[in-house]
Structures are given as C-alpha cells and as structure tokens.
C-alpha cells in the first residue's frame, strides 16, 4: 500500500472530521459552560498575599540589604516599592518611632531591591515596608529587627537571612505547596553549594523516612517542587559544610475549609465532558462513517486503489484523533481561562488522567458505533440505538444501578450501595473516566460522599483499571475488525 494513498485518505478524513459540525458545536458548548463556571469562581484567600524575604551582609565596609518580593506562587514581583527604615525604638514615643535613616527603592525584574546602610547608621532597628499595588498602598510588613542581633549573625555566618525557606502554592496544583528558597552568601555572594533536603513525616508511623536531597541552589532564590511528597514534610537548607541554616515543617496539602476553585472548575468541566464527549463521538461516527456506510457512499471508494481496512481505519482514527484534539482544546481553553481568572492551572496529573480517562470511552463508543454501522441497515435505527446507548450508559446509569440495588435489597447510600455503583462502573465504558478520577484523586470523590476514601476497597486499583481500559478498547475494536471482514 503506497504511503501516499494512506495519507490521501487520512488527510481527507481528518479534514472532514476537523469541519464536523458535531465536534465543533460540542467543543464550543464545553468551553462556554466551562468558561461560565470559571467566571463565577474567586481565587482562594491566600492568593492575595504578597511576601518577602531579605538578607543583610557586609559590602564595601557598609551593610547592604537585599529584599526579595514574591507572590503566593513564589514568582518574583517587579516594580514593588520597598522602604527601608532604621528606627530608634528607644525614643520616648514608641508609637511613632523616630527614623535614623530612611531610603526607598523599587524591586527590579527579579523582584529584588537593594539598599546600602552606612555602618554608622546600623543602630537601632531595621524595618522594611513593602507596598504592593500602585493605587491602594498595602503595607504588608513593618517588622523591626535590632541591628545588634543582625550584626552578631553576620559576624558569625557572613550574612543574615530572614525567611530562607518559604511555603508557596504549587503553580501546577493550587491545592498543594512547594518551597521557595532564598539565601545570600557572605558579602552578598551567590549561595552556591547550599543544598535543600526534605523528608516525609509519617504521622502515627515510626518509620519516618530520612532526608533526601532535592537539589542545590544556583541563584539567590529558587523554587523546589514537592509533588513527590504527600502530607507533612520537613524541609532544610544546608550550607556547604552540611550545617542547617534554615528549616521548616509543613503539610504539602493545603488544608482549607473552602473547596479549591481549581478543583471546582475541573470537577464541573470534566462532568460536562463525561456527558458530552460520548455524544460527540456518537454524532461524529454517525456523520463521518455510519451514514456513509449504510447509504453505500463507501462503495465507490472501495473500488479505488485502497483496501477496505485502510479506508475504515482511516475514518476510525481520524475521529479518535479529532475527538482527543477536541478534548485537549476544551481542557486547554478552560485551563487558560482558569489561569487568567485565578492565576492557577490544572495539575499535570489531572491532564494525564483526563486524557487516559477519556481515551478509553472514546475508543469503546467509536468501536460500538462502527460495529452497529456494519450491522444495521438504516441510518434512523443507527442513530436511535446510539442515542439510547448514550442515555443508558451516560445519563441513567446511576439511576439504573439504584433501581437494581432496590431489587437486591441494598439500602441506598450504604457502603454496599456504593460498592455496587462503583463496581458497575467497570461495566460501563462511559464511567471509565470516573474510575480513573477516583484513582488519581486518591479517593477524594468517594470521601466526599461520606464513605471510606480508599479506592482499592472498591476495586479501583491500577491493575483493574488497566484490565478494564484494555478490555473496553481492544474487545470492541477487534470485534469491529472481525465484522468488517465478515459482514457484507
């Protein structure tokens, strides 16, 4: 089979799929609905915070203060006004202390502002005011630190650094935290060979693992991702002699009483997609294959120099690829809108689980549609049966299982009921996404309905997902290939 023939067919089929009204309309509906929910969401309270760290060290026989200002994700904030004050807190009016020395600067593109403090002015207290925003000035810190203490530390370690390890929201998952390291070496040098260590804290388990190195600093500030760690961790910054110069303990998962808006957006958008993606596959398979097959449009093409197998597979995979592109586009646009509105994005794990979770039902439904197209003799019955399948598997599945549970005497919303519902999902390709979502979210969805949150208790394990996914993709596809040869 010449490659040009295969390319000719695939190019034509892909072009048809690209301009398929059903794919375009459903993608637009998903994006519009996703955009609507995103427009109602507000960023979490922590998102408004601006933070800073600073370092003091000796430079050219004077003192220099380096201030680093960043947002909740640890991104440097340029053009922020920083005011350095040397205060005399021993004056008679401590409410409005007198200023010994005052200087103002703006952060550069790296979020850093520098101040020189003459040695003779390094008395009293150091105070920094950081103002974010131009119209509404928001003073976020007026923390004062005695110069005498600062000088002791500088004489001992070469520099004084406030907040060397800060918790920041993970840019790829707003429900998780990463760490931002800020450090300055002696005389303002780069903190080379300073290493970051982390260890998992297993609560209630004496088998707490040891520290592992996350990496070394190669700049004054640097973000280290903690996506391989779940729950509480210890993080340490160590100098080249392995002395700890800073440490912090915290929970990598953000414990919030309010649901994370990113998760709300994802749940809503993926919920729409679970309903509409199968419909998209059904309609595009009907328009781009079923109708042509039943109306004998394909016959003339079969008479041309191409094999039936290549022609059919070309139509099949052009629909698969186009549907997956529509899914990527829907998620991508939603993610972009989410970023513009909230400054956060869907986690990479959500993207992967979405693509895997949707690929299986797309292939399964498409194969079933292609099988029906080869068995049925009228386009009306093909469309009617397809829609009934969508209604049963996509809309009324839970209702059917609930009725079944009544029949079996299983009380509604009991553990047995959820057991039945979740196990039934293995027999419904359209619910494969739900299974993957439960697995990747580590049972959050199950816990939300008030039952134990371990997916494995309900048979949702990686091997079972693999078997179900393989079964729903391979069996209908192979059956379709068999029918293609058999039915004429």
């Amino acid at each position: 089979m010449p490659k040009s023939t295969i390319f000719n067919q695939f190019f034509y089929d892909f072009k048809r799929a690209l301009t398929s009204k059903s794919i375009i309309i459903i993608t637009v509906i998903i994006i519009l609905l996703g955009g609507s929910i995103i427009s109602f969401l507000n960023p979490p309270a922590i998102a408004s915070s601006t933070s800073f760290s600073y370092a003091v060290y000796v430079k050219d026989s004077n003192y220099e203060v380096m201030v680093f200002v960043y947002n909740m994700y640890g991104d440097p904030l340029p053009n922020i006004q920083v005011k350095l004050n040397v205060l005399n807190l021993n004056s008679s009016n401590t409410a409005t202390p007198s200023s010994i020395y005052s200087v103002t600067d703006q952060t550069n593109n790296n979020g850093i502002a520098f101040f020189e403090v003459p040695k003779d002015k390094a008395v009293g207290f150091l105070s920094l005011d950081v103002s974010s925003g131009s119209s509404t000035i928001n003073v976020i810190s007026g923390l004062a630190y005695p110069w005498s203490d600062l000088i002791k530390v500088i004489n001992y370690t070469g520099s004084f650094v406030l907040n060397p390890i800060a918790k920041v929201i993970s840019a790829s998952n707003s429900s998780r935290l990463d760490v931002l390291l800020f450090y300055v070496g002696k005389n303002g040098t780069l903190p080379l060979n300073y290493a970051v260590y982390v260890r998992q804290i297993n609560i209630g388990n004496s088998n707490t693992s040891g520290f592992v190195e996350l990496g070394t600093l190669n700049n004054y500030y640097q973000i280290f991702k903690l996506d391989k760690f779940r729950g509480p961790v210890d993080v340490e910054l160590r100098d080249p002699n392995n002395n700890t110069v800073g440490s912090v303990s915290f929970n990598t998962e953000i414990q919030s009483s309010q649901p994370d808006p990113t998760n709300i957006a994802y749940s809503f958008i993926s919920g729409i997609m679970v309903l509409l993606i199968p419909l998209m596959v059904i309609l595009s398979a009907y328009n781009l294959y079923g109708k042509d097959k039943i109306n004998n449009v394909l016959d003339f093409i079969y008479s041309l120099p191409i094999t039936k197998l290549i022609l059919n597979l070309s139509r099949y995979f052009s629909i698969v690829i186009m549907t997956m592109i529509a899914i990527l586009l829907s998620l991508g646009v939603s993610d972009l809108l989410l970023y513009l509105k909230l400054g956060s994005t869907f986690a990479a794990s959500l993207w992967i689980s979405s693509l895997v979770g949707f690929l299986v039902p797309v292939i399964a439904i498409l194969s079933i549609m292609f099988i029906l197209s080869n068995l049925l003799k009228s386009t009306g019955s093909l469309l009617a049966i397809s829609i009934v399948i969508w209604l049963i598997f996509g809309i009324f599945w839970n209702a059917i299982i609930t009725i079944l549970s009544f029949g079996l005497g299983v009380g509604i919303f009991t553990k047995d009921y959820f057991n039945l519902v979740i196990h039934s999902y293995f027999f419904n390709p359209l619910e494969f996404f739900s299974l993957v979502n439960m697995y990747t979210s580590n049972g959050i969805i199950i816990s939300q309905i008030g039952i134990p949150a371990n997916p494995a208790d309900y048979g949702i394990t990686l091997p079972n997902l693999f078997i179900a996914g393989l079964g729903w993709t391979l069996i209908p596809f192979l059956l379709y290939l068999y029918l293609l040869r058999k039915v004429e």
Partner: protein, 302 residues
C-alpha cells in the same frame, strides 16, 4: 483484460449471489452482460471492482488479482455503478481531486486532471456544485469522470443506461464504442437488450447466479428474425412478386406480412411507392436477443 474465474458469492451464508461464474472481457471488446433483476450482474461487477469479496474464485484485471493485489488491480479498472452514491455535501471538483489522490495524482495535477474530466463528461461549470444537487444522469457522468481518472484499461458499466435521457444514452453508448476503439475492455451490463445487442461483441447471459450462455458475434448476427408488416390500400397480386425476394410473404386482407425479412425496410418502402401503392402503415419488427433471452430463461410464456 478482465478475467473472471469461477467466482461464487454467498450472502449471509445462505443466499447465493453468484455461483461459479467465469468469463472474460478481452482488450478492444465490449461484452454485454444480461440477466433478469437479481440474476447476479451487479454482484459480479462489484466483485470485479473489489467492492465485494468473493467466497470463491478470482478476478484478474490485466493479470492482477482484485483480492490479493487490490491496489494494482484497482488502478486498472473503472466502475460505473447503476446508482452512483457519493458524499452528498461534497463539491464535485474537490471530491474528484480526493479520488485522484488514490491514483497518486495530487496538487495542481489533480486539479487540472479533474477539471479536464469534468469538462469531458459534460459537467463543465459544475466544479463547485455539491453532489446532492446533481441529477441521476449527472451523477453517472461524475462517476464516469471518477472512473476515468487513471485512464484505466478496463471498464465495468453496470446498467449505466438506466434512467438516462436519449442524449445521455447516446453519450454513454458512444463512449463505450470509443473506449473499444482505444483497445480497452468493457463489461456492459444492461437489461435494455436491444442496446446490448447493437453494442456488444459478445453477450454473457446470467440467470439465478449462473452463466447460462455466452454468445459470440456470429451467433448474435444470426439471432432471431425480422418481420415487415405493410398495410396497402390498393393491394394487388403484383405486390407478392415485388416482395417475395425479401422473405416469406403472406397476405391477409390488405395487410402484407414478410417474415424472415432480409433487406432494408426503407428500400421496400421506396419501391412500393414508386409502383404507385398507397401505404397506410409500415411496421418493421425485429425479434432477436430479447426473445432468445426469454426463451433461454424459460420465461417467455410466463
């Protein structure tokens, strides 16, 4: 050259489409393929162009097996279906360019070739029209253009004259003769037997899925009889003398019948007129392939 060798097609494991059908169509030859509805003509043709797979047997197109060597065989055969069905919303030129891609004709070459063919089959100016707006005849012309894309050596015309106006019938008849002159092989299925009789070099008769007769040119020539029936107002005995050299003459009232007529009807008409006979009606009947075919399939008296 088209060689059909012992093909059998059984639908759904029960219904016999064709059984052990064998014949060939040589280069520079038109073979008429006749049979009743459901006799197996379309099944044979669909197998021959690779649309259907046979249960048994092979079809060779210029020596290439349509099943085992589908691509090479398909390049060498053009199919004109009885009812051409194309994607209704496709535009004529773009669909033709897509078909051209299968023959390795792409880009500007495909555009040029497709436009030429649309003009050649009488669809000039229809390039941007959607197929669904085409009449039956136009769809057949479009199918012809698609079949001619690679200028194949073999053509399969399946009831192509059905539903065509006289101009359309003339177009496809002339085309078949033109293809023949160019040395191409044409399998021409039709139930308009007089058309096939006038066009074909050989006739293959299929009935209930089996070939029951293959007739060559000389057999076709001697097939059936011609009858001249003339009503003459001033009929007299001299008419018999004039007409007896043309065949077996019989007279009933003022109607003269010449059976097994051999001659030119127009010559008879002129001669009688010259002799002063007043001719009220003049009928020339040719009973040939149709009668033979009906008798062959045992349905003549049905």
């Amino acid at each position: 050259m088209l060689e059909i060798k012992g093909i059998t097609k059984i639908y759904g494991g029960k219904v016999i489409g064709v059984k052990d059908v064998s014949f060939d169509v040589r280069n520079g030859e038109i073979v008429g393929f006749v049979g009743l509805n459901g006799a197996g003509k379309t099944t044979t043709i669909k197998i021959s162009c690779g649309v259907l797979l046979p249960n048994e047997g092979t079809v060779l197109i210029d020596g290439h097996d349509i099943v085992k060597d589908k691509i090479e065989a398909s390049k060498r055969v053009g199919w004109l279906p009885e009812i051409p069905i194309f994607e209704p919303n496709a535009k004529a030129l773009s669909l033709l360019k897509y078909f051209a891609g299968f023959h390795g004709i792409t880009g500007l070459e495909a555009e040029k070739r497709s436009s030429e063919l649309l003009r050649e089959v009488g669809l000039e100016g229809m390039a941007d029209r959607k197929i669904r707006t085409f009449s039956q005849g136009m769809r057949k012309r479009f199918a012809l253009a698609a079949a001619m894309l690679a200028d194949p050596n073999n053509y399969l015309f399946d009831e192509v004259l059905n539903g065509l106006d006289p101009a359309g019938m003339h177009f496809f008849r002339s085309l078949a003769i033109d293809f023949k002159k160019k040395g191409k092989s044409i399998l021409f299925s039709s139930h308009i037997l007089s058309e096939v009789e006038n066009l074909a070099d050989r006739i293959v008769i299929i009935h209930k899925g089996k070939i029951i007769k293959i007739m060559n040119a000389s057999e076709l020539q001697g097939l059936g009889s011609k009858t001249l029936k003339i009503t003459i107002r001033n009929l007299d005995g001299k008419v018999y003398d004039i007409l007896k050299s043309y065949g077996e003459v019989s007279v009933a009232g003022n109607v003269v019948t010449v059976r097994n007529f051999n001659g030119e009807p127009s010559a008879v008409n002129s001669e009688l007129a010259k002799q002063g006979y007043l001719i009220e009606s003049f009928n020339y009947e040719k009973t040939g392939l149709e009668d033979y075919f009906l008798s062959l399939v045992g349905e003549k008296n049905a």
